[in-house]
């Protein structure tokens, strides 16, 4: 933690005193009084505590309380809050108009200050401290706030005897005195002047806000800014010339797409990218949010990497072990294995329909899983990262098994609801411990279980913390972690790591190999991430070349934000502690949640579109992919909305993208027999080339950082630019004119057809079927499917295109209304 402050800032005094009291030494960086340290604040707020990169506390009072709280010295008493609020609002409003005059050498009117001082004086009433005879943040902050008065004139509190006594007593205490000396650097009041004059003013409470004139002004502003289009910015001659040069000659030097030959293994001469998507839990049918959150996002990125000619391996599969499967098996009267087999097929089908192109879609119930999980376990055991502890648990003596939370029911200890589950009461919603249930009963045989203690193994996370921290420091700075992933991870570590139980009394799981735990299985959170290497092991026996090769392999992991701690803390700890050099996550991409029509997806209430429904709607998978990626919850939660779905299909796909591609192709077929014409590029065309290559470069650099949603907008921008170009040049007029004009129409159209070719490649990660269809209509060779960041003329003069057909169909509002009702749930 680092404190930024200007010299002689009385608010920094608050923090220094707190640090002295807490016995903490702070790193201090002095900056200019006018410096803006916090990037999002538009004013010079100082002091500022940098908690970590891009995380700031900019309220001196909050920092003071935080520092005191870390050593347990911050009082929870609400009166402290009240005093601090009074200080930051009323007192500072009075001081911030008084102090600059006082220090600026003017004649200061202390009249307005008197009521505030007298309020504090009365409240103190001879007490030693402001709140309950105990030193608190209130004393520290008020002392510092009033210090400039005292520094200016030692007799300023003369009329207020209680206040004077309180202040002088604190001033004599070493933490206060020492901090004062630090802030003033022993120079007294003169050292405060610069800072006080530079501090932003604290306003007083406005009396009433007038509304009418604000309205008037904003409507005027609006008039001034109504002209907006995607007007391509002006490009310099140099940029335009370069774009033209690349376009005309780039094909010769463009690389060929690399063939995908299984099994894929890391190569020395290529960028090796290993991609995993969070393993969907087998007994839930995934909903649209699950799909866009991990498998679809990972699919887009892996497809992008392939057209970039990287050496990619994309691994996914179903997570099959654990209590939930056992419960489901009991419900349906099948064995857990049968349940897994049944649902695995369903998952596999859904992802195939969505065109998810994994290199291998596997499952966790395999011998490889057992072997690798047990190897990691032995590694941790050998390195002494495992602890043994007793855990109190309910045991059903009739069934002879310990009962997992979900296998117990009983009366809620809090609200007396008689059908509470072992982990949570459905009525009051509180989380409960299974052992606290009144009248517990076994869900299987309905008899009363007894509390027994059972020995369990724990992973000693605190012992691995320093290694984890240095791994995280490196990975999060060098790799692309989404900001929510960084935030969730750092808050986990900040809350303190605790040993975590890795064994469970279940039957359906990977068996623990160590005596006397052999009747137990691994806890699913320990087991599930091991699915990634084990599924790879099912794909190739050389899986270790991917997974134990951190120097040559970059690992990208995709998931929703609730899965972050297991991938950023727990799984890395398992791998760091087992004594081998594993490939650890380099880039962790977590999405926020996708909601459905202003509420949540809910399987039990039947709200929302689930994986299998999408196919039943008859809308092609590509349209679903497009819309889900267009609203991908990248940095904010987002909403699936049927009206918006229809609008995006009809406006973006049909009228923008589809319209542009179809227009160009049809025109070429009708007027030029489908033959690409000679390109006599004029200034306007070259401007377009420059604009398109700029969009392309942005697309590439965004996708390299896995900003999937933003990159998609650049694809659509290109077709917008193309549409504009057609509109401006009007080839349908030119084609009827003189031979020169006709040849100009040929140039424009052939350029558009080449842009369509580029679009087909850029669309490939998002809409693979559509991309293929466009390339068929263009009769383009498979060699175009490589993306270097340069816009190159692939369809040269004389190339014969295929048969153009419309790419997208309109979705009618009535159809959307009907679908909305169909998936609105049972209540409606």
């Amino acid at each position: 933690m680092k404190l930024f402050t200007d010299k002689g800032n009385q608010h920094s005094l608050k923090i220094l005193v707190a640090a002295e009291l807490a016995g903490i030494s702070l790193e201090i960086e002095h900056v200019d009084s006018a410096a803006i340290v916090v990037p999002f604040l538009k004013r010079n707020v100082l002091p500022v505590l940098e908690v970590e990169t891009n995380e700031y506390l900019f309220s001196a009072n909050a920092i003071t309380r935080y520092i005191l709280a870390t050593v347990g010295k911050d009082s929870e008493d609400i009166t402290v809050s009240t005093w601090l609020e009074w200080e930051s609002t009323d007192l500072q409003a009075a001081l911030s108009s008084y102090l600059p005059v006082l220090y600026g050498g003017g004649k200061a009117d202390s009249q307005k200050l008197q009521p505030h001082l007298s309020k504090l004086d009365n409240s103190l009433g001879g007490a030693q401290f402001i709140v309950q005879d105990q030193l608190s943040a209130a004393d520290v902050c008020l002392f510092a706030a009033l210090y400039p008065l005292y520094a200016n004139s030692k007799s300023c509190f003369e009329n207020f005897s209680n206040l004077n006594a309180w202040f002088t007593k604190l001033h004599a205490e070493p933490p206060f005195g020492a901090s004062v000396a630090k802030v003033t650097e022993g120079k007294g009041s003169s050292s405060l002047k610069a800072s006080i004059l530079a501090q932003p003013l604290v306003n007083t409470l406005p009396v009433a806000r007038s509304v009418s004139n604000e309205k008037g002004k904003s409507s005027k502003d609006k008039e001034n800014s109504t002209t907006e289009e995607v007007v391509a910015k002006e490009f310099s001659l140099e940029e335009v010339r370069a774009a033209k040069e690349t376009f005309l000659t780039g094909k010769k030097v463009a690389p060929k797409p690399v063939q995908r030959n299984h099994p894929l293994l890391p190569r020395k001469d290529a960028k090796n990218v290993l991609i995993t998507s969070a393993l969907p839990y087998v007994n839930n049918i995934p909903h649209l949010g699950n799909i866009v959150g991990c498998v679809l996002s990972a699919d887009v990125f892996s497809r992008f990497c392939r057209i970039r000619n990287y050496n990619v391996l994309y691994i996914c599969g179903t997570d099959e072990y654990g209590t939930a499967t056992e419960t489901k098996a009991l419900e349906e009267g099948l064995t857990p294995q049968q349940i897994c087999d049944k649902y695995f097929k369903l998952h596999d089908h859904v992802y195939r329909w969505f065109n998810i192109d994994c290199d291998h879609f596997g499952r966790t119930t395999t011998p490889q899983q057992t072997k690798i999980a047990q190897d990691i376990f032995w590694g941790l055991h050998k390195e002494k990262h495992l602890l043994e502890q007793k855990v109190e648990q309910l045991k059903c003596e009739d069934c002879d098994r310990f009962l997992a939370d979900r296998f117990v029911e009983g009366t809620c200890p809090l609200c007396n609801y008689d059908d509470a589950r072992g982990d949570q009461c459905d009525k009051c919603g509180k989380l409960i411990n299974a052992t606290d249930l009144k009248n517990p009963r076994c869900k299987i045989c309905n008899r009363t279980p007894v509390v027994k203690s059972s020995d369990h193994l724990f992973l000693d996370l605190p012992r691995l913390e320093s290694r984890l921290q240095s791994f995280l420091d490196k990975s999060t700075t060098e790799g692309d972690w989404t900001s929510n992933a960084k935030m969730i991870t750092s808050s986990w570590i900040r809350d303190g790591l605790k040993p975590r139980c890795i064994t469970r009394d279940l039957k359906w799981g990977t068996p623990v190999p160590l005596e006397p735990y052999t009747d137990k299985v691994f806890y699913v959170w320990f087991d599930a991430p091991i699915g990634y290497p084990s599924i790879t092991a099912n794909y190739t026996p050389d899986w270790e070349k991917w997974w134990k090769n951190p120097d040559e392999v970059q690992l990208y992991q995709f998931m929703a934000k609730d899965n972050v701690p297991f991938h950023s803390v727990v799984f890395p700890c398992s791998l760091l502690g087992c004594g081998e050099k594993w490939t650890l996550v380099n880039h962790l991409i977590a999405t926020e949640y996708l909601n459905y029509e202003d509420s949540k997806f809910s399987k039990s209430r039947g709200v929302g579109v689930f994986g299998n429904h999408a196919e039943q709607t008859g809308i092609p998978a590509d349209i679903w992919r497009f819309y889900l990626l267009f609203i991908r919850p990248e940095s904010q939660d987002s909403y699936f909305n049927w009206d918006d779905f229809v609008l995006k299909n009809n406006s973006e796909l049909l009228n923008n993208l589809g319209n542009f591609i179809n227009r160009g192709l049809m025109f070429l077929e009708k007027n030029f027999g489908g033959l690409v014409q000679e390109l006599k590029l004029e200034q306007l065309d070259c401007q377009l080339l420059a604009a398109v290559s700029q969009e392309l470069k942005q697309y590439v650099s965004l996708l390299e950082k896995v900003r999937i949603k933003e990159a998609l907008r650049h694809v659509l921008n290109i077709s917008r630019l193309g549409n504009q170009h057609i509109q401006v040049t009007q080839p349908w007029v030119l084609v009827k004119g003189s031979p020169e004009e006709k040849s100009r129409a040929g140039t424009v159209t052939s350029l558009c057809v080449n842009i369509s070719c580029l679009l087909s490649v850029m669309l490939h990660p998002y809409m693979p079927d559509t991309s293929k269809t466009i390339q068929e209509q263009l009769n383009a060779s498979a060699d175009v499917n490589v993306l270097t960041g340069d816009f190159v003329c692939y369809l040269e003069p004389g190339h014969k295109i295929g048969t153009p057909k419309p790419l997208f169909a309109k979705i009618e509002q009535a159809q959307a209304d009907q679908l909305r009702n169909q998936y609105a749930g049972k209540n409606d």
Binding site: K42, V51, E85, W86, T89, A208, R209, S218, E228, Q724
Partner: protein, 271 residues
């Protein structure tokens, strides 16, 4: 004229394309200012119909710039009317009792029994009295309510840093948001918060906390004044605002403000 138009639109017998342009001519800014409840209601009904029809037809009329402008304009009219109508009987725009309202709303939101709100008009200080304990000031009241409430999820957990961040944003509300003197101050606040939320879903932690609630209440009045175009300018803040008003189920306290799900003002081209 207007009445006739509105009725015709309402009966559903109209050619919308024609209605839109007739409507455009008729419904001038002057008409906006005229204060007749009947007129408002009729215009409101008409606008709802026209907007509904236009929204669906944006796609088919995409090529007409005039239409797009009409859509934007009518979105704004709709916003304005929706608000005017939902504020009948509720005055949320006046500064002094606004804070008072917020305290009442918070107390109701946290469902704390036996509490009373007092508002001292002279000093502008709001107080909450609960079982004989008096708490002054909005930020302190909010912390107090959270401490004593049944909804610990808004507490943000026991982490010291989280607590400090919540305190900081509560302080931001009372020292900065509530003390904007002119439109420039408001704009600065909106800009700052928008840029803060660029990479975040909520202000503190990754879930809803009391900081979001208190800032939502504080920002309601300024947001209420924004046009859809301005809301699009503060994209991140708007997303957050919309998220909070829906996630926290706040329609009981303030009307739900409209946000457009589509980009209306960006990346739109004429062709």
């Amino acid at each position: 004229m207007l009445k006739w138009l509105a009725i015709r639109a309402f009966m559903g017998q109209t050619n919308f394309r024609r209605t839109v342009f007739e409507f455009d001519f008729t419904f001038t800014d002057q008409e906006r200012g005229r204060d007749s409840p009947l007129l408002r209601l009729l215009v409101f009904m008409l606008t709802v119909r026209v907007c509904a029809a236009l929204e669906l037809n944006i796609a088919s009329h995409y090529n007409h710039r005039g239409y797009l402008q009409a859509v934007r304009y009518h979105f704004e009219v709709l916003t304005w009317l929706r608000l005017k109508l939902s504020f009948v009987g509720k005055d949320c725009t006046m500064a002094p009792n606004r804070i008072d309202n917020d305290v009442k709303a918070l107390a109701r939101y946290f469902n704390l029994k036996n509490c009373k709100c007092k508002f001292d008009k002279k000093s502008g200080v709001t107080q909450l009295v609960h079982n004989g304990q008096t708490v002054c000031g909005l930020a302190s009241i909010a912390s107090f309510l959270v401490q004593n409430s049944e909804q610990p999820s808004l507490h943000g957990g026991s982490c010291h840093m989280t607590k400090a961040q919540i305190q900081q944003w509560l302080q931001y509300r009372v020292t900065i948001v509530d003390r904007c003197l002119n439109e420039k101050d408001v704009t600065t606040v909106l800009k700052e918060l928008n840029s803060f939320l660029e990479s975040r879903v909520y202000f503190v932690t990754s879930s809803l906390t009391v900081a979001d609630l208190v800032l939502y209440f504080g920002l309601f009045a300024p947001f209420n004044q924004l046009t859809l175009q301005e809301k699009e300018k503060y994209l991140h803040l708007s997303r957050w605002f919309n998220n909070v008003q829906r996630v926290a189920k706040l329609e009981e306290f303030y009307p739900i403000l409209p946000f457009s799900l589509n980009y209306l003002y960006e990346g739109v081209s004429e062709h």
